[in-house]
Symmetry: C2
Subunit: 525 residues, 2 copies
């Protein structure tokens, strides 16, 4: 399949009439062919109107049809073969093995949502029987969930496959019965086009209305804002910077009809090393921590940007081991020149911050945008007094905070902003400290880990990739895992409908074989 | 129990130091004793801080403890006896039977949430087994939901018991494990104090931390805004005007940490009478419609403010029957002088609107704030051209829209804003029209009724009292029924926790006997 730089609006591929641009290979700084035309406001309008027109027919598809569609997208992505991986490598600077793994994750995600759709628990069906003899009589009431409506998804830079055109947001919105308009990320337009065509082909081969999916290139400030402002759009999925996310939140809130925005924005993923664990395995934790910190140049939302521990021999050993490990890490290419520049200047700023000392740097890489990892240390009093030390640095930079005792560990936990993850390293001997810390971490984070590193985010039923603000704009949900579908649903109650008018999910004889809450009890009969 | 005009801040009843006020009996316009002191900003601060301090201990109570607490509140309300009903009658102008029914509803609601809490499905537990031999190994992942944190609840004027101090918002927030700070409605401060003391006594007798519940009197613009702005507060429940709700939404969005607001605001609850039904039973539908319209002086969120039907003999018969029924209805006391004045001037405005004719008025009541019901008619073209005809009039006023045919029925359905309810009257012969209308109504409303009137809102598992904006500020939820608890929850994932650190809900041996999603399958083992 060749990349020709076109927008995909419903069934039509057309060259965007606005400011053309080329992708940049961050390893070389060179532009890549071809040029991509960007969307104008008419293109955005057309994509949104097609999505609106497609909504009723798409949400009316059977669970099986919708599941098969998601599986077809997965197959079409696999069928793209090496061309997809090669283009993604060029556009992102990420290595082949990582992108092949990410393709597996993307395909696995689509297949998981196919299973979720078939299973139908997301419909949240409940039936309350009529009680005609009660005073007053109780009507027959039945509840199911339906899609919110067309969703705009913003591709993320750091997962050009798994959180981009057919990534988690798109898969969960499509699973929920919502048409999707993707605003492609400018860093990987070719990858986006290839995946977009895979989705478009699945829409066609399943016989679905063309408006189920569109893909636009364009600037976030113009096309992105136009999409979020459009009356046909009913929800937004975004992964990126806090500034970008909050701009969308503000736009969505200012609409005549405000809509939900699921923005995954900013997290420093604190790692608490409790005294018992530090005493037993400081060196091992320190080495593992550097592996997690430098994975993918530190460009994970769950990158561990903060380590909190009580000062002493153990912490010194941890820092020594981390420093040694870090000095052996060669910087790899970061995603874009912009991200590389922002990382470099943030590390420079932190180097000059009062009360902060550099522990070690990684080795310089050889590519144009190679990030050089960095580890800093400060004390708890300084950290607590300087909110800017809590700001996310996107890339492989982390800060160790020395505490005077367990009370200060808890003080820092209470002080922290909302996070995607919070980690404790502990042993049996840390039982009391861990039990005391846990409630604070539950209030602060979407996922709590013990004796592990937060960078791996499993696509599963029990995963939460979310958390209190500013980790996300909506802590009531997750963007990774089966529960992500819940973001794009709303409940509808049906009172005294004749059986011929009832949707299948809530018909008497349970033709879909769903788990349903019947008069308060969960049953499958 | 005597009413002494005090604020209830945690375990302390104290007289508010700010501007004292007295309730007004809307039937006479007279002030009622005693005077209520209002809260100042220090009082708001103290209530919020107590709620924050109580949160961890309260959410850590067992399901049984929390359920028993809700049941104790219900019992304490019943134990107030006739004094509660008498005071509520004086403050609201609502008749005894209605308030006794509403007390039953309030108590039933608390008991339903006790059952919901014990059942534990709201915890949304999921467990994914570790796969240590996979490459990379999969960790052990477990998910449960926890409360968002302290919630501010605004008492509603129109349900002084069922949607006020211990009403649906409070019951569902407490069920979710969230402490509650109530901003009492100024129209029924005595009723609020009585119910507040019933909650306060239950907190004490259950041995819970005092901050689980506080009750403040004060102005929405000062105390209400201060509560919503306070960093300890994590969500808001509100039922009232669109203007009031949107002010809270804006304040919550402008906080350094934005929080969700569940505001139930504005709905005109369209009733579509399809041609077959109109042909068969126009008179009967018209008479029943007036009963629903005038129930409780039309002061229900689900009051039917709009009737849409195709012009012809049937519609004429409907209008005749409705007019006759309306002329026999004597206006009863409205909730407050302010609501009565707003209703009167809105009806006056509608009487003078271009293209709108008065069909009939009800009889004048004899009390100070008696509302005089009104029915108007217009045609579809005029309705579609004048958005102000779609604005909610709070009270017993409704507008009939004459359509030229079925296509115009659908056009109006598509044109309407979001609604709490949408109703169809139909017979077998309306099958095609109903099937065509249903998808539009699903997009517009939280509850769809057939051959009934929307004013009754059952407290049940399959109820949705919610809907797209501006019916509510968040269509993803309901404020009535078992699912209301979901509004105040967020998911937390636990990765590789040792068993001694795991919350009971997600321990291996399922000590709470919950339904759980284990490796994707719903099981109770």
């Amino acid at each position: 399949m060749t990349i020709n730089g076109k927008l995909l609006i419903g069934a039509r591929a057309q060259y965007g009439a606005s400011a053309p641009f080329r992708a940049i290979d961050p390893a070389t700084g060179q532009h890549l062919e071809p040029a991509f035309g960007t969307a104008n406001l008419d293109d955005a309008e057309r994509a949104c109107m097609l999505a609106q027109q497609a909504f009723d027919a798409y949400r009316d598809t059977s669970l099986e049809q919708r599941a098969a569609f998601l599986e077809q997208i997965a197959q079409n992505i696999l069928d793209l073969g090496p061309v997809l991986i090669e283009r993604a490598m060029q556009e992102s600077g990420l290595p082949q093995a990582r992108l092949e793994g990410e393709r597996g994750r993307t395909v696995g995600q689509l297949r998981l949502f196919a299973k979720v759709v078939r299973d139908g628990r997301w419909l949240g069906t409940a039936l309350d029987s009529a009680l005609p003899d009660r005073t007053p009589p109780r009507p027959d009431l039945r509840l199911r969930k339906i899609g919110l409506g067309p969703v705009v998804v913003f591709g993320a830079s750091n997962f050009p496959l798994a959180f981009s055109v057919a990534g988690g947001d798109t898969a969960s919105a499509l699973a929920a019965g919502c048409p999707v308009v993707v605003k492609a990320h400018g860093a990987h337009p070719g990858t986006s086009e290839l995946v977009g065509k895979a989705v478009m082909a699945a829409v066609a081969s399943c016989g679905f209305p063309e408006g189920v999916f569109s893909l636009l290139h364009g600037d976030g400030r113009t096309i992105g804002q136009a999409l979020v402002s459009h009356p046909a759009i009913k929800a937004v999925g975004f992964t990126g910077s806090r500034q970008g996310g909050m701009a969308l939140v503000r736009t969505a809130a200012a609409r005549p009809e405000p809509i939900p925005v699921y923005a995954e924005m900013s997290s420093i993923n604190p790692v608490f090393v409790l005294p018992g664990a530090m005493g037993e395995k400081a060196g091992q934790i320190g080495t593992g921590f550097i592996d997690s910190l430098t994975l993918g140049s530190g460009q994970f939302c769950t990158n561990p940007g903060l380590v909190i521990a009580v000062e002493g021999e153990g912490l010194d050993k941890f820092i020594d081991a981390a420093a040694t490990a870090l000095q052996g890490k060669v910087g790899s290419t970061m995603l874009t020149p912009g991200i590389h520049a922002a990382y470099t200047s943030a590390v420079e700023r932190l180097s000059g911050a009062a009360g902060v000392s550099l522990v070690a740097r990684g080795q310089c890489g050889t590519t144009a945008c190679a990030g050089q990892a960095a580890l800093f240390v400060t004390d708890a009093a300084n950290f607590l007094a300087n909110p800017q030390l809590e700001e996310e640095i996107f890339g492989a930079s982390s800060l160790v905070v020395r505490c005077t005792g367990a009370a200060q560990l808890r003080q820092i936990a209470e002080h922290l902003d909302g996070q995607l993850t919070a980690t404790m390293f502990l042993t049996e001997s840390d039982r009391d400290a861990a039990l005391e810390l846990l409630p604070a971490l539950e209030r602060k984070a979407g996922r709590i880990l013990v004796n592990g590193y937060p960078t791996g985010v499993e696509v599963a039923h029990a995963m939460v990739h979310g958390g209190p603000f500013p980790a996300t704009s909506d802590s009531r949900s997750t963007s990774v895992g089966a529960a992500a579908i819940d973001r794009f649903l709303r409940p509808v109650s049906y009172q005294d409908l004749p059986s011929w008018l009832l949707p299948a999910a809530i018909k008497d004889d349970n033709p879909l074989g769903l788990w349903r809450v019947r008069d308060g009890e969960l049953v499958k009969a």
